[in-house]
C-alpha cells in the first residue's frame, strides 16, 4: 500500500513538471498581454513601458525560473491585469462553483444512465432498449454549448421555469447541470448497458435465477455489484474530464462563475499568471481524484491489491 502511494506520488510529480513546462510555453505562444491591455493606437514607448511593468521584458529563461521557483511554493504571482491579486487566489475562489456544477452534472448523469443502462440491458434489442440507445446517442452527439442554448430558449425564456444564467439557487443550477449531464449520460448509458449485458450472460446469474431470486435483485445486487468497478472508472473519468475543461462552454453560456469562465477570460486577456495557476490547480485536482478512485477499487473489490 505504501509503495503504491509512493510510486503514484512520484508519477504525479513527473506529470506536474510536464504540465508546468507545457503551460509556460503555450501561454507565451498565444500573444502579448501588453499589446492587449493597451489601446491599438498606443505608441511604441507606451508599449515597452507596459511590457516592463508586466515583467515581460525579462529574458524568457529568467521568466521561466521565476515561474518555476514560485510554482513549487504554489505562488504564481499577481494577475497581469489585476495587480495586487494573487493569480492562485483568483482561481481558488472560483473552484467551489465549478465543483458544484460538475458534481450536479455528473451525479445527474449517473442517476440517469445507471437505471437506463440496466433497463436497456435486461432485454437487448427490445423496443425499450432501442429507444434508450437512440436517446443516449443523441445525448452524446449534441455539442454542449448548443444544448445549453436550446435549454435556455425552451426552459428559461419560453417556459420561464429557470433563469437563463447566473448562480446561487437551484433554479440557476438546473439548466447548466442538465447541459453538463446529458452528453455524459449518453456515453455512460451505452457503457452501463454493454457492461450489464456481459454480466447478465455469466453463469452466476443463471444460478441466481435458478434459485428464484427476483430479476430486479439480480440486476442490482449481483450484476450491478460486479459491474461497479468499470462504471466507477468511467464515472471518475467523466468527472475529471468535466473538471479539466469540458465545462468551459457551459460555464460561459450560463455565466456560471467557475474556473472555466475565469480561464476563458484569462485566455482572452492573455493573463499568463492566471492561466498558469488555473492549469496547475486543475492538474493537481485531477491527479488527486485519480488517486482516490484507485483507492476506492480496494473497497469495491477485495481482490484488487495495491502494489
Amino acid at each position: 500500500m505504501l509503495t503504491f502511494l509512493a510510486r503514484r506520488l512520484a508519477y504525479s510529480l513527473i506529470v506536474i513538471g510536464g504540465v508546468l513546462v507545457v503551460v509556460f510555453v503555450t501561454t507565451r505562444l498565444i500573444g502579448d498581454p501588453a499589446r492587449i491591455i493597451l489601446p491599438a493606437t498606443a505608441s511604441q514607448a507606451d508599449y515597452e513601458l507596459q511590457r516592463s511593468r508586466m515583467g515581460l521584458d525579462q529574458p524568457i529563461l529568467a521568466q521561466f525560473f521565476v515561474f518555476v521557483a514560485g510554482a513549487v511554493r504554489g505562488d504564481f504571482g499577481e494577475s497581469l491585469w489585476d495587480r495586487g491579486s494573487s493569480a492562485m487566489g483568483l482561481v481558488v475562489e472560483r473552484i467551489p462553483a465549478t465543483l458544484q456544477l460538475v458534481f450536479a452534472g455528473v451525479g445527474l448523469a449517473m442517476a440517469i444512465s445507471i437505471p437506463a443502462g440496466i433497463l436497456a440491458a435486461r432485454r437487448p434489442r427490445s423496443l425499450l432498449d432501442r429507444v434508450i440507445t437512440l436517446l443516449s446517442l443523441a445525448g452524446f452527439s449534441v455539442p454542449n454549448f448548443l444544448l445549453a442554448m436550446v435549454l435556455i430558449i425552451v426552459f428559461a425564456v419560453g417556459l420561464g421555469w429557470f433563469y437563463t444564467s447566473g448562480f446561487g439557487t437551484i433554479r440557476h443550477l438546473v439548466l447548466p447541470a442538465v447541459a453538463v449531464a446529458l452528453p455524459v449520460a449518453g456515453r455512460m448509458t451505452q457503457f452501463v448497458r454493454s457492461t450489464m449485458i456481459d454480466e447478465f450472460s455469466r453463469p452466476y446469474i443463471a444460478t441466481a435465477r435458478s434459485k428464484g431470486v427476483s430479476e430486479p435483485a439480480i440486476a442490482v445486487r449481483h450484476a450491478l455489484r460486479n459491474a461497479a468497478i468499470p462504471i466507477l472508472t468511467l464515472g471518475g473519468w467523466e468527472f475529471t474530464r468535466q473538471l479539466a475543461g469540458y465545462t468551459v462552454a457551459v460555464e460561459v453560456v450560463f455565466a456560471w462563475p467557475g474556473v472555466g469562465q475565469l480561464a476563458s477570460q484569462a485566455i482572452l486577456r492573455r493573463d499568463f499568471t492566471v492561466i498558469q495557476a488555473d492549469v496547475f490547480l486543475v492538474a493537481i485536482i485531477v491527479l488527486v481524484i485519480n488517486l482516490i478512485i484507485d483507492l476506492l477499487y480496494t473497497v469495491l473489490d477485495p481482490r484488487v491489491k495495491m502494489v
Binding site: G31, P39, M149, T164, F167, G168, T169, R171, A255, P257
Partner: protein
C-alpha cells in the same frame, strides 16, 4: 412478492434526484416572479449585463471597460462630456484655465464629499494625480495621461496641474482621471470596495457574477432616478439576449444588427471605433508605393454598401478622415471618397497589383465580414488580393512589424477614447508603427498641433494635416459603426457619444 418490492427500491432511489429536479422546477414555476436574477425586481432597479468581470475595482489601475461600467457611476472626473455633443462640461472641476503654457489651474466644486464622509478638495485631487502618474502604480491608463508631470495645491479648492509641454488635450485627459479619497486609497479594501463622490454607492461584488450599487442619496448633483443597480457578468452575447427576453435584464451593449429585432427594445449611438485599412507598406517597388494606387483603393470600396449589407445601416461613412465629427480636429471640408469603380480602374491604369491584406476576427463587430467585403471590392477594381485573417495576438504582432517587414495592407480599428483627433492622426506620422508612410509636412503639422493650446490655431493645423492625409491616402477610410444596445421595454435611456453607461441618466417607464 415482498422481496421483490424491497429490491425495486434502489431503482426508485436512483430516480430520486431526477424527481427532485422536476419538483424544484414545478415548485418554483408556481411563484409569480423570480427575484435573484433581477427579473420582476422592485421598481427602481436596473440590471445591466457586461461580458466579463471587472479585473479590479481600483479606478486608476487598469484600462478595462468592465471596471469602468462600475466605477464611472461611483467615481467622478474633474471634467465631463455632454453625452449628446461631446462638449466639455464641469465635473468635480468648475473651471480649467491655462495659467502659462505648461500649467493649468483647476477650480474645484465646493462642498462635495466622498460617500465615506471625507471631503473632496485640493488634497484629494493632488493625491489622485500623483498616484496615477507614479510608475510604481503601474497604471495601464498612463497612455491617456502621460503628459501630466505633477499637481500642486494652491488653496483648498484650487490645484495647478503641470504638463511636460503645452498640452491642448489636457481637458480631454481630465475626463479620464477619477478623483479618489487619499486616506481610503491607502486601505486594503480600496481595490475591491470603491468609494467615490458619484451618484451611486458600492454595495457588493460577487466575483464572476455581479456588482451591485445603490443610489447615493447625498449626491451633490441631480439625484439619480433609479435606486438599485446590478451589473451582471454574462460572457455570451446570445445568453444576454435571452436574459433580456426573459426580463432578467434591462440593458446590454454590443448587440449585433441581426439580433436587434429579437430584443424587446434597442438604442443605437455612434461608437468610438473607426474601421480602416492601413496601406502600410509604401516603400519603392511595393504595390502601394504610388499615390494613384492608394487612391484607387479608396474609390473601389463601397462604404455605404458595407453599412447596408453588414450593419443594417447602423453606422456612418467616415468623412475622409478617421476623426468623428464631434472630436477635436474634425475637418468639415473633407468628404468621403466616392464609390467609383471606373475611377479606380482609371487610376490603376491597367495594372493588377497583388496585395496581401491582413486582418483578425472576433475582436470588433463584423470585423472579418467587413474585411472580406473590402477584399472582394478591391478585387473588382483589379487588385489581386490575398486575404489573411489571423488570430488576434498574431494580428497585433503583424500590425507592429518593423518597416522592412510590413505587409501591404492591414485592417485595424482606431478607438479614440479621448474623443480627440491627436491619437488617430499620430498613427501616420513619420516613425509611427502602423504605416511606413512618412511625410515631413504632415508630421510637422500634427506635432505642432499637439503643443498648440489655442483651439482655433490647433484646428487650422488639423485641417491642413487631414487634407494632406486624405490626398496622400496612407489609410483606406471605411466606416464608423454604431454601438447597438439591447434594452428592456421599461428602460428609458439615450446612449452617449463617449460610450459611457451612466445609470444616473436612466429612468423607468
Amino acid at each position: 412478492m415482498s422481496s421483490s418490492t424491497r429490491s425495486t427500491r434502489p431503482f426508485l432511489l436512483a430516480l430520486l434526484p431526477i424527481a427532485g429536479l422536476l419538483f424544484a422546477a414545478c415548485g418554483s414555476s408556481a411563484t409569480p416572479a423570480p427575484s435573484g436574477g433581477g427579473a420582476g425586481a422592485p421598481a427602481g432597479a436596473v440590471v445591466y449585463a457586461v461580458g466579463a468581470d471587472p479585473t479590479t475595482l481600483d479606478p486608476q489601475a487598469t484600462d478595462d471597460g468592465n471596471e469602468r461600467a462600475v466605477n464611472d457611476n461611483i467615481y467622478e472626473t474633474l471634467v465631463l462630456r455632454n453625452g449628446a455633443t461631446s462638449a466639455f462640461e464641469p465635473g468635480l472641476a468648475l473651471s480649467w484655465t491655462l495659467k502659462d503654457p505648461t500649467t493649468w489651474t483647476i477650480k474645484l466644486r465646493p462642498n462635495v464629499k466622498f460617500t465615506n464622509g471625507a471631503a473632496m478638495n485640493a488634497d484629494a485631487v493632488v493625491y489622485s494625480v500623483t498616484r496615477i502618474i507614479d510608475p510604481a502604480l503601474k497604471s495601464a491608463q498612463f497612455s491617456y495621461l502621460n503628459s501630466i508631470t505633477g499637481a500642486k495645491k494652491v488653496d483648498d479648492l484650487t490645484v495647478d496641474l503641470t504638463t511636460d509641454g503645452p498640452d491642448p488635450i489636457l481637458p480631454a485627459q481630465l475626463t479620464w482621471l477619477k478623483v479618489i479619497d487619499p486616506t481610503y486609497a491607502k486601505t486594503a479594501d480600496f481595490a475591491s470596495k470603491p468609494v467615490g463622490t458619484g451618484p451611486y454607492k458600492f454595495v457588493e461584488w460577487k466575483k464572476g457574477q455581479s456588482v451591485t450599487l445603490t443610489a447615493n442619496t447625498d449626491y451633490w448633483g441631480t439625484k439619480p432616478a433609479i435606486k438599485d443597480v446590478t451589473i451582471r457578468v454574462i460572457p455570451e452575447i446570445n445568453t444576454r439576449l435571452q436574459a433580456l427576453k426573459a426580463n432578467e435584464l434591462d440593458l446590454t451593449a454590443n448587440l449585433s444588427p441581426e439580433l436587434m429585432s429579437q430584443a424587446p427594445a434597442t438604442a443605437t449611438q455612434r461608437s468610438i471605433e473607426m474601421y480602416e485599412v492601413y496601406m502600410a507598406n509604401t516603400s519603392t517597388g511595393k504595390p502601394f508605393a504610388d499615390k494613384a494606387t492608394r487612391q484607387a483603393a479608396q474609390y473601389a470600396v463601397d462604404k455605404e454598401g458595407l453599412l447596408k449589407s453588414l450593419f443594417a445601416g447602423h453606422g456612418t461613412v467616415q468623412q475622409g478622415q478617421i476623426i468623428r465629427d464631434d472630436w477635436a480636429g474634425f475637418n468639415p471640408n473633407l468628404k468621403p471618397y466616392a464609390y467609383d469603380l471606373n475611377k479606380a480602374k482609371t487610376l490603376l491604369a491597367g495594372k493588377t497589383p497583388s496585395i496581401k491584406l491582413v486582418g483578425e476576427a472576433g475582436r470588433w463587430l463584423k470585423d472579418k465580414e467587413t474585411l472580406q467585403a473590402v477584399a472582394s471590392m478591391l478585387g473588382q477594381a483589379g487588385f489581386k488580393v490575398t486575404l489573411d485573417i489571423q488570430e488576434f495576438g498574431a494580428w497585433v504582432s503583424t500590425l507592429f512589424l518593423p518597416n522592412d517587414q510590413k505587409v501591404d495592407a492591414i485592417w485595424a480599428s482606431t478607438s479614440a477614447d479621448l474623443l480627440d483627433g491627436d491619437r488617430p492622426l499620430t498613427q501616420t506620422i513619420c516613425g509611427s508603427k502602423q504605416v511606413d508612410w512618412c511625410n515631413k509636412t504632415y508630421t510637422d503639422l500634427v506635432n505642432k498641433a499637439r503643443v498648440t493650446t489655442d483651439a482655433k490655431a490647433r484646428q487650422d493645423l488639423y485641417n491642413q494635416a487631414t487634407a494632406l492625409q486624405f490626398e496622400e491616402s496612407p489609410i483606406l477610410y471605411l466606416i464608423n459603426p454604431d454601438d447597438i444596445y439591447g434594452m428592456s421595454a421599461k428602460l428609458v435611456w439615450k446612449p452617449r457619444l463617449d460610450g459611457k453607461i451612466l445609470f444616473k441618466e436612466m429612468s423607468l417607464k
